[in-house]
Every structure is written in structure tokens, then in C-alpha cells.
């Protein structure tokens, strides 16, 4: 049976947010989920990746078909999602496809906003969780480490990640087109969504002075404000604090506008018409689009920010092409390693290598020092050297013929390295 890597899951390309949310793995339950994953019989190794854009299981198996089935059931677990309902949102990558997908994810080529830097850190985090639980083995260790080095290579060799591309970086870039410096500015978070939190972190990294957090659940506002050394305010009171803010990020789940044009006009007067940068991160929108008609107000919604990223993506088309070429190279090299990872070809290669050494040395000796030997004596020497090689190889070969595929992969990888059997991608 051929060893295979596969990825089963949902991502932003085919699955809407509601589906991704339902399938996502809670951080506290991740270790247990990894153990459950390992309990599935066709799965030899597994890593779970669960971010807001994707919920994907990366697995190594020797029985691809039944593993796919088992993984789909695993993903649908407690959720009563009918398989066929899940099916149309599901993405399944097998073999080289799967390796390519993992490399592209790591290099942020598959991100909603191509080139955003967060995904690599997230991937490393999920991998190390799996490694500590023990669900990642030889194949996935190699595959993930390779994906990290591919990501690094793409970062340094291409311009894919060189510009601000994530929505939050786009927000920072815009802030710098409005404001001279951020050190004396204040940001207000309306609602404590993941995206707005991320944007706030970016702004803080650029030195923004103060943070005001308003959230419907006041406890969450306090928690977040403590995180940022900011000031929590009750949600109902946020209009009173609005005049203190220079950047306002809205991400509440409100069905209607929480900020009207008239309200902003009042705020503007109160702040003597100093410019105000409003970022609407929520769908449906939090801020009335008519606000943008006011002087000294700059209102951007998530689409507008995405538009910024889109622009960057167009400019980087050629860079992305370069990145895809690197991906293909690395997939090839990984694939050569993986297909050599089976016991049988390794045993064959090992035997061939030993046999070549034996033959070479034997011929050399028989042609020189043992020149006078009779054919009978030569046969005896021949038999003896063959026996020595067989005896030496016996123990290693027994270990290579493991029934446990995960251990087998480990021994095969070790043997190939110890005996220096050609591993094309090693530099």
C-alpha cells in the first residue's frame, strides 16, 4: 500500500463562515481531538489546523480512500451536518496536491489576503500541539518543517509578503496617509471581534497611544482593555468617548448602524473637526456609509480594505508566479523523499548498495592479492562475503519491515540517512 498525505477540511474558498465556524476546534479541546484523530484506524499521523479561514486535518495514511471517509466523519463529529451537505463545502487534497496545498497555506498563498503573515505562526502553533500530543510522526514532521522552510524561502526570494496586505496592515497604511504620526492618537474598538483586535494590535505596534474598548459584554471589554493597557467603557456610553478617538474600528454584531451621520457630525464639532478614521469591519455594516460624505472623515469598510489588498495582489502577480514555481520545486523534492520512504524500495536500495560494495572490494582483492586462488577457493570467498553482508543487514532489515507504518517510516528515514542512500532533496 502506498504511503500518502492527505488534507481534508473546509477553507474560505469553498465554505462560508458559518460552516467553518461549526467545524472549528476549540483550543481547549484540541489535544483530545488529536487523540481521537489518532484513534481512527487508517490514520497514521495527523495534525489539525483550525483558524478563522480554515479547518483542515492533515494526515499521513497508507489507505487513502478509507482515511478520507474517516476524516469526513471526524470533521462532522458532534455537528449534525449531513455528509452530503458538508460535501459541497469540503475540500479534499490527496498526494502531491495535499503537499502543495500545505506549502501554499504556509507561504500565505492560500490566505484570504495573500501574503498576510499571521498564518505561518498559526500553522507552527498547530503543528507543535500535534507534535507534543504525539500525533505528528516522521512524515508530517518532515512535511511541516519543509512547509515552514518553503514559506521562509518564498518570503525572502519573492516580494509576495513585502507589502502590507492583511486587512489590518492595510488599515495601518491608510492611517499613515491621514495622520502624520500615531504616537499621539487614540483608537476605539467597538465590539471585540478577532479582526478588530488584530487591527488594534497592528496599530499598537505602530505606536498608537491609547485604546478605548467598548463591547456589549462588558467583561470582554475589560479583558481586552487589560490586554492592551486600554480603557474599557460600557457599550451604551461609547458615543460620549467618541470625541477622544482618532481611529474607530467597528466590529459589533449589531443588525443596524450603531453610528449615524448626524452623530458623527456632532462628534466632529466636539473635536473641532480634527480628522477621524473609521474602519467598519463588520457585516452587516456598523457605520452608515453616508458618514463618508462628511469633511475630515474617512470611512472604510471591510470591502474597501480588501480592495487595498486586492490592489497589492495585482501588483504582485509576477511575484506570486515566482512563488508558485518555488512551491512546485519543493513539492517535487519532498515527493521524492516521501516515495522513497517505503520499506521495500529502501531494502532494495540498501541491498544493492551493499552488494555493489561487496562485489567491488571482492573483485579488487581477487584480481590482486588473491590472484593465485583456484575457482573453488574463489567461490568460497564469494560465499563468505555474501554471508557477512547478509548477517550485517539482517537486524536493520528486520526493523525496516515494521508492521506499524508510523514506526516503519521512522526507521526507513533513519536507514536512508545512516547508509547514505540517495535522498535527492538533501543539500
Amino acid at each position: 500500500m502506498e504511503r500518502e498525505i492527505l488534507i481534508v477540511g473546509v477553507n474560505h474558498r469553498k465554505a462560508p463562515l458559518e460552516v467553518r465556524e461549526r467545524l472549528s476546534f476549540d483550543d481547549g479541546l484540541l489535544d483530545q481531538a488529536l487523540r481521537d484523530l489518532m484513534a481512527l484506524s487508517p490514520v497514521e499521523e495527523g495534525v489539525i489546523v483550525s483558524t478563522c479561514n480554515r479547518v483542515e486535518v492533515v494526515a499521513a495514511t497508507s489507505d487513502g480512500d478509507s482515511a478520507v471517509e474517516a476524516l469526513v466523519a471526524f470533521l462532522a463529529r458532534g455537528e449534525h451536518l449531513a455528509s452530503e451537505q458538508l460535501g459541497k463545502h469540503l475540500s479534499v487534497y490527496r498526494g502531491r496536491e495535499a503537499v502543495r496545498h500545505l506549502f501554499r497555506v504556509a507561504a500565505s498563498l492560500d490566505s484570504m489576503v495573500v501574503g498576510e503573515p499571521q498564518i505561518l505562526g498559526q500553522l507552527k502553533e498547530f503543528y507543535s500541539r500535534a507534535a507534543s500530543v504525539g500525533s505528528a510522526g516522521t512524515v508530517l514532521h518532515r512535511c511541516f518543517h519543509k512547509s515552514f522552510s518553503v514559506a521562509k524561502r518564498i518570503r525572502t526570494e519573492t516580494g509576495v509578503a513585502s507589502k502590507a496586505v492583511s486587512v489590518s496592515s492595510a488599515a495601518v497604511e491608510l492611517a499613515y496617509r491621514i495622520f502624520d504620526r500615531l504616537e499621539d492618537k487614540t483608537v476605539m474598538l467597538l465590539g471585540a471581534g478577532e479582526m478588530s483586535e488584530l487591527a488594534a494590535r497592528h496599530l499598537l505596534a505602530h505606536g498608537i497611544r491609547g485604546i478605548i474598548v467598548a463591547n456589549r459584554t462588558f467583561e470582554r471589554a475589560i479583558e481586552l482593555a487589560r490586554d492592551f493597557h486600554g480603557m474599557p467603557v460600557p457599550f451604551e456610553d461609547f458615543p460620549r468617548y467618541l470625541q477622544l478617538a482618532d481611529v474607530v474600528i467597528g466590529s459589533t454584531a449589531a443588525a443596524g448602524y450603531v453610528l449615524s451621520r448626524a452623530r458623527v457630525q456632532e462628534v466632529l464639532r466636539a473635536r473641532n473637526y480634527r480628522p477621524l478614521f473609521l474602519i467598519d469591519m463588520s457585516v452587516p455594516r456598523n457605520f452608515d456609509p453616508a458618514i463618508n460624505e462628511l469633511d475630515n472623515i474617512y470611512l472604510y469598510d471591510i470591502d474597501d480594505l480588501g480592495g487595498v489588498a486586492q490592489d497589492n495582489r495585482d501588483q504582485r502577480g509576477r511575484e506570486a508566479e515566482k512563488a508558485e514555481t518555488i512551491i512546485e520545486e519543493e513539492v517535487d523534492s519532498f515527493w521524492r523523499w516521501l516515495s522513497a520512504l517505503d520499506a521495500v524500495p529502501t531494502i532494495v536500495a540498501l541491498r544493492q548498495k551493499m552488494e555493489a560494495i561487496r562485489k567491488g572490494e571482492l573483485e579488487k582483492t581477487l584480481a590482486t592479492s588473491l590472484r593465485e586462488f583456484t575457482p573453488r577457493e574463489r567461490e568460497a570467498i564469494e560465499a563468505m562475503t555474501a554471508a557477512i553482508v547478509n548477517k550485517i543487514l539482517h537486524a536493520p532489515l528486520t526493523h525496516l519491515k515494521q508492521h506499524d507504518r508510523q514506526r516503519e517510516a521512522f526507521y526507513v528515514a533513519a536507514a536512508r540517512q545512516l547508509f547514505d542512500i540517495e535522498e535527492p532533496e538533501e543539500r
Binding site: E173, L174, Y176, R177, I178, F179, D180, R181, L268, R269, N272, Y273, R274, P275, N292, D295, N296, Y298, Y300, D304, G307, V308, D311, Q315
Partner: protein, 272 residues
């Protein structure tokens, strides 16, 4: 001699303008340094040329339309070099430099011999009137360029248009702050020029105010800039302030040209 040095300065302005344009289009950092270097050389040559002429004549001479333009261009460029050292205002330079080029070009093109300065005008009030007034004009010219860039950046932000060019524009806050400061200084100098001018008028013509075209125009311009500064205190910042700065400068140019070329009064090089 001064004509030759002015021509050299003119060539350097042209080279600097070209480098600025290349920088704005490509964003290469090296072209920006080249543009600034050319501009600094042009300024040095231009200022030296003005200095040599003043030395030869024995007094500061900003008597003819051409000399006025040349003086304004030189001060504008000096001022720009001064502020460009602090903030990245390359795009503003791409406006200031061609403007300086145009002014210097017309100064060369309409070059007329400097008439001798009448004895009665050779007193302390003439430089006290002319210097601040033209310094003010130069400052207003730079403020005008800043305002143009402000309106461009503001429109792009409102329209949510992106691109490398707009990323190279200075921030709205930078532009607005600088504009405010420049207009304040320009207004102060312009006001001094008006006051010393009326003293000079009293000394030479006997009346502080005689409804000269230049006096009327100057009063209108002064009122416009006064209005702009006042409006800022009640929240007219940003786009409105930039628009008003542009209107103020256009009025200034119209008055300058019309007074000098269309309705020459006692103020032009003839000294009535």
C-alpha cells in the same frame, strides 16, 4: 554675468524637475536624492546670483517684474529645501520646482535693464516694504503647492483609490499642519509689508493710501488670508483650508500679473 548664472540656475531647476517627476512615477529613492541635490545646487547658484547683483548695485533691487519673480522663485526653493529636510515632501517638490523654473524662466525671458532707483526711494522703508512682502508671496506659493497635494491625497482617500503614487504622498495631517504654519508666517510677513509699504507711501507720495491698483488688490488678498486664518479657529481645516489657500494664491497671482502688466501704476519699475 548675473544673466549667465540665472541661466545655469534655470537649467538646474529643469534637471531637478525631471528627477522629481521620475521619482514620483517610479518611487526610486535615488532619484529623490538626485532631485534634491540638483535643487540645492540651483538654489545656491540662484541665491549667489541675486547676492552678486545686490552687491554690484549697492542695494537690494527687486524693482522690475522679472526681478520680483526671480526673487520669489529663489525664496520658495530655499523654503522648500528647509521644510523638505524635516518631512518627506517629495511630491510637493515636484510642484514647487517647476513653479520656480517657470518664474525664473519668465524672469530671464522678460529681462529688462534695471532702471536706476530714484534717490527719494533710497531709504530704509523700501527694503522694509519689499522684503517682507515678497517673502510672504514666496511662502504663500509653497502653501499653495502643499494645498494642491492635500486636495489630491484627500480626494484619493475619499474615493478609496490606492496605488504606489498615493502611498508616496505625505499624510493629510503633515500637509495641513505645514499649510497652517506657512500661511500664518506668510500672513505676518505680508502684513508687515503692507504696513511698511504705507509708511513708504507716506514718505514718498505723501499719502498712506491712494487707491493704487496694487493697494486694492493687496487689501483683498490680505482679507482672504485673514479670513482663512480666522476660519481655522472655528474648524475650517483640511479640505476647506486647502481650497481657500489655493483661492488666496490665485488672487495673489492675478493681482501680481495685472498690476505689473495690465494696469501699471506707480508700483511698477517706472516708479511713477
Amino acid at each position: 554675468m548675473t544673466t549667465v548664472s540665472l541661466a545655469v540656475a534655470l537649467a538646474l531647476y529643469l534637471l531637478s524637475t525631471a528627477s522629481f517627476i521620475v521619482h514620483v512615477i517610479t518611487g526610486q529613492a535615488s532619484t529623490r536624492r538626485v532631485a534634491i541635490a540638483f535643487l540645492a545646487c540651483a538654489f545656491a547658484v540662484h541665491a549667489a546670483s541675486l547676492g552678486v547683483r545686490a552687491f554690484l548695485l549697492g542695494y537690494e533691487s527687486i524693482a522690475t517684474f522679472q526681478q520680483e519673480l526671480s526673487f520669489i522663485a529663489c525664496v520658495m526653493v530655499g523654503l522648500y529645501l528647509l521644510i523638505a529636510a524635516r518631512a518627506n515632501l517629495t511630491v510637493v517638490g515636484a510642484l514647487v520646482t517647476p513653479l520656480a523654473f517657470l518664474f525664473t524662466l519668465s524672469a530671464l525671458a522678460f529681462n529688462a535693464p534695471t532702471p536706476a532707483l530714484p534717490k527719494r526711494l533710497q531709504n530704509v522703508w523700501l527694503p522694509a516694504h519689499v522684503a517682507p512682502a515678497f517673502l510672504g508671496y514666496a511662502i504663500f506659493a509653497v502653501a499653495f503647492c502643499l494645498s494642491l497635494v492635500y486636495l489630491l491625497q484627500e480626494r484619493q482617500l475619499k474615493a478609496k483609490r490606492k496605488g504606489d503614487l498615493f502611498r508616496r504622498l505625505p499624510s493629510l495631517e503633515t500637509l495641513d499642519d505645514l499649510n497652517h504654519r506657512l500661511v500664518t508666517w506668510g500672513f505676518a510677513l505680508f502684513s508687515i509689508g503692507l504696513i511698511t509699504g504705507s509708511v513708504l507711501a507716506k514718505e514718498t507720495w505723501g499719502a498712506m493710501w491712494s487707491w493704487e491698483p496694487v493697494e486694492v488688490w493687496s487689501a483683498v488678498t490680505w482679507l482672504l488670508y485673514a479670513l482663512l486664518l480666522h476660519a481655522r479657529t472655528v474648524g475650517w481645516r483640511g479640505r476647506k483650508a486647502a481650497a481657500l489657500t489655493i483661492v488666496g494664491f490665485i488672487v495673489l497671482v492675478v493681482s501680481f500679473v495685472s498690476v505689473n502688466l495690465v494696469f501699471p501704476g506707480k508700483h511698477t519699475g517706472t516708479f511713477g
